[in-house]
Every structure is written in C-alpha cells, then in structure tokens.
C-alpha cells in the first residue's frame, strides 16, 4: 500500500505516541480529520500507547474506538530501516519514522532526536506547536495561546522564542 507522492486532498500522517497522547490531553485529537486523511499507527506506537499511565491509556483507547477507520493500525515499514533507527531511537519513534518514510506520509513527532533524524531524512514533519497553528487555520480552535499555556503545564519544552513564534504564526502577537 505504498502511496503515490502525488496525493490529492488531505495527506496521510503517521504519529508517535507522545505527540498523540499530548493531543488527547489537550482534547484536540478529534479535530485531526480536518488536517489528515488518516492517521497511521505503527504496532510499536500502539503498544506504547497502551502502556501509558491508566488515565491516558483509557483516553487513547476511547479515541481509537470512537474514530476507528481514521486511526488505523498499519504495519508498513522496511524492517531494516526500522532496525537501523532503533539503534539509538525508541521503538515507537523508529517505527513511526520508518512508516512515514515508506508510506510518504507526514510524520507527527515532538521528540528532538527523532525529529532531527527525520528532518535529515527529509521527511515532512509536523510538531504539536505547528499542529495547533494548523488547527486554528482550519478554524477547529479559535486561539492557540491557551493550548500553548497548557503545554507548559504538561512539561512540554517550549522556549519563549518558540512560544512567541507560534503566536506570531497564529496571528496572536
């Protein structure tokens, strides 16, 4: 099911567990169909999601249940690419990068090491902050500031510079 790079409509995305859990915490994961055709979940990411602390795990399972078909478990990946990436990345991150590579999907990931690796591999990457701006652009949310404030509370590393940059991108300076 390798997808053609010439895609019409919304793109596919592959997500890492941490970012998805963060979106669930922010209560905005249900808006993702406005930005993506489908979110692919590698088995490693699903395993990590189901190992999450009790409350987070329940929320994620509920989300997968409510949005079956949109969040889709996907096994596609070149096994060797995945293994090379696992050498110094977590299993979920490695699986998500390998899957985004072979399916030519957008990669949703926040972790710096995984993000840097995917960028060197020239994948299309979107992080939580940018996702918030994109959600505002499609009017799913009216402001990004409250979500950025909430991210700080959730121990998300957000420098003042990035905070202000995202506000500027969202037109909320």
């Amino acid at each position: 099911m390798v997808r053609s790079p010439v895609q019409r409509g919304l793109p596919y995305a592959v997500t890492d567990n941490t970012l998805l859990s963060r979106l669930v915490d922010l209560q905005i994961a249900q808006f993702l169909p406005l930005l993506f055709k489908q979110i692919l979940i590698p088995p490693e990411v699903k395993r990590e999601a189901y190992k999450a602390p009790h409350k987070g795990k329940r929320r994620l399972m509920k989300l997968f249940g409510e949005m079956t078909g949109f969040f889709t478990e996907c096994n596609e990946a070149d096994d060797l690419v995945k293994e090379y990436l696992k050498a110094d990345l977590h299993d979920g991150e490695a699986a998500a990068i390998a899957q985004a590579d072979i399916t030519q999907s957008v990669l949703l990931i926040d972790e710096k090491k995984g993000y840097d690796r995917a960028r060197t591999m020239q994948l299309t990457i979107v992080r939580t902050g940018r996702l918030l701006v994109m959600l505002k652009e499609v009017t799913a949310i009216s402001e990004v500031r409250p979500y950025l404030e909430r991210l700080k509370v959730l121990d998300f590393r957000l420098t003042t510079e990035l905070f202000n940059q995202l506000l500027a991108e969202a037109g909320e300076e």
Binding site: D78, Y84, L85, I102
Partner: protein, 163 residues
C-alpha cells in the same frame, strides 16, 4: 553534508536507497533521493535539477538488474552534476556497460566479493582528492557512504537468499 543518490537498481535492490538514507541520517548526512516513481520522457524534472544543484556531492549506484531507461536517467543526472562541477563517484556492479563518466570516477563492485571494489574505490577517492584539496572532510564522508552502500547491497543479497 547533502549527497544526491542517483540510482538505477532492480526491484530487489530498491529498498537500498531508503536504508542508506536512514543509516547516513544517524551521522547527520542527508542522502537526497530523486523521485523514481516515474521516469521522465525528456530531460530531468525541476525537482531533480534543484536537488542536484543543492547537493555537496553525487553518488551513483547502478546494479545489474537495473532497467535500461533508469540507466539513461542516471546518465542525465550525472551529466547535470558534471555541469554543476559536483564531486561524483559511481558505484557500478561489474558487468554493467556504463559510459556516463570518466573511468577514474567509477568504483566497480561485485556483491559476492567484498574486496573486489577496493582498488577502484581508492583510485576514485584519490582522484577526487587531487581535484579538490579543500574538500577533505567531505571526501572522508563520501568514502564512508560508498562503503556502507556496498555493504547494504551485500546484505540485501544475503537477505534475499534467506527469503
């Protein structure tokens, strides 16, 4: 460092480009790949032109199972790289007739013989070094990438046999 990988390989060797990109990325080297989902009829795409222009070097990989039309594409890509004065090294499987670049830039390899390429690899690296004194660090990286690529081809063959 950005290295454009110009490649013409058969179906079984097709994953090598993505695998090389994943390995090289761990060392902050970007392997820039052309779009091989279609073969251009006349000339190269603007996207390929831009990728070659922005690369620090061009590595070509040609295996025996490559289709003729892809060999022609590699030829065009290498010609363009020459015009942009990019350092070029071509890894060509023994037995493939290819005359796109000077002999001293070609590394002939045999996937069943892990030492067959050594002499021509050293010659090609020396040639690049002689041409570009200021390019020493990148030369080491290019030699290293060439070695990894040949290792991946041998591994691909071994995995294919296992399957």
């Amino acid at each position: 460092m950005n290295v454009f990988l110009s490649y013409a390989v058969g179906e079984l060797d097709a994953p090598i480009a993505a695998r090389l990109r994943a390995v090289a990325a761990a060392y902050e080297i970007s392997i820039v790949l052309p779009d091989r989902s279609y073969v251009p009829n006349n000339g190269l795409s603007q996207d390929t032109n831009a990728k070659i222009m922005q690369s620090d070097a061009v590595l070509a990989l040609i295996t025996r199972t490559a289709q003729l039309e892809l060999l022609n594409v590699v030829n065009l890509e290498l010609r363009l790289a020459s015009q942009f004065y990019k350092p070029i090294m071509a890894l060509i499987e023994q037995g493939v007739p290819f005359q796109g670049i000077p002999e001293n830039q070609i590394v002939y390899f045999d996937r069943f013989n892990p030492t067959a390429h050594e002499e021509s690899l050293i010659r090609a690296l020396n040639q690049l070094q002689a041409e570009r004194q200021q390019w020493k660090n990148n030369l080491t990286a290019l030699g290293w990438i060439a070695g990894i690529t040949l290792g991946l081809i041998a591994l691909s063959e071994w995995i294919g046999d296992k399957k």
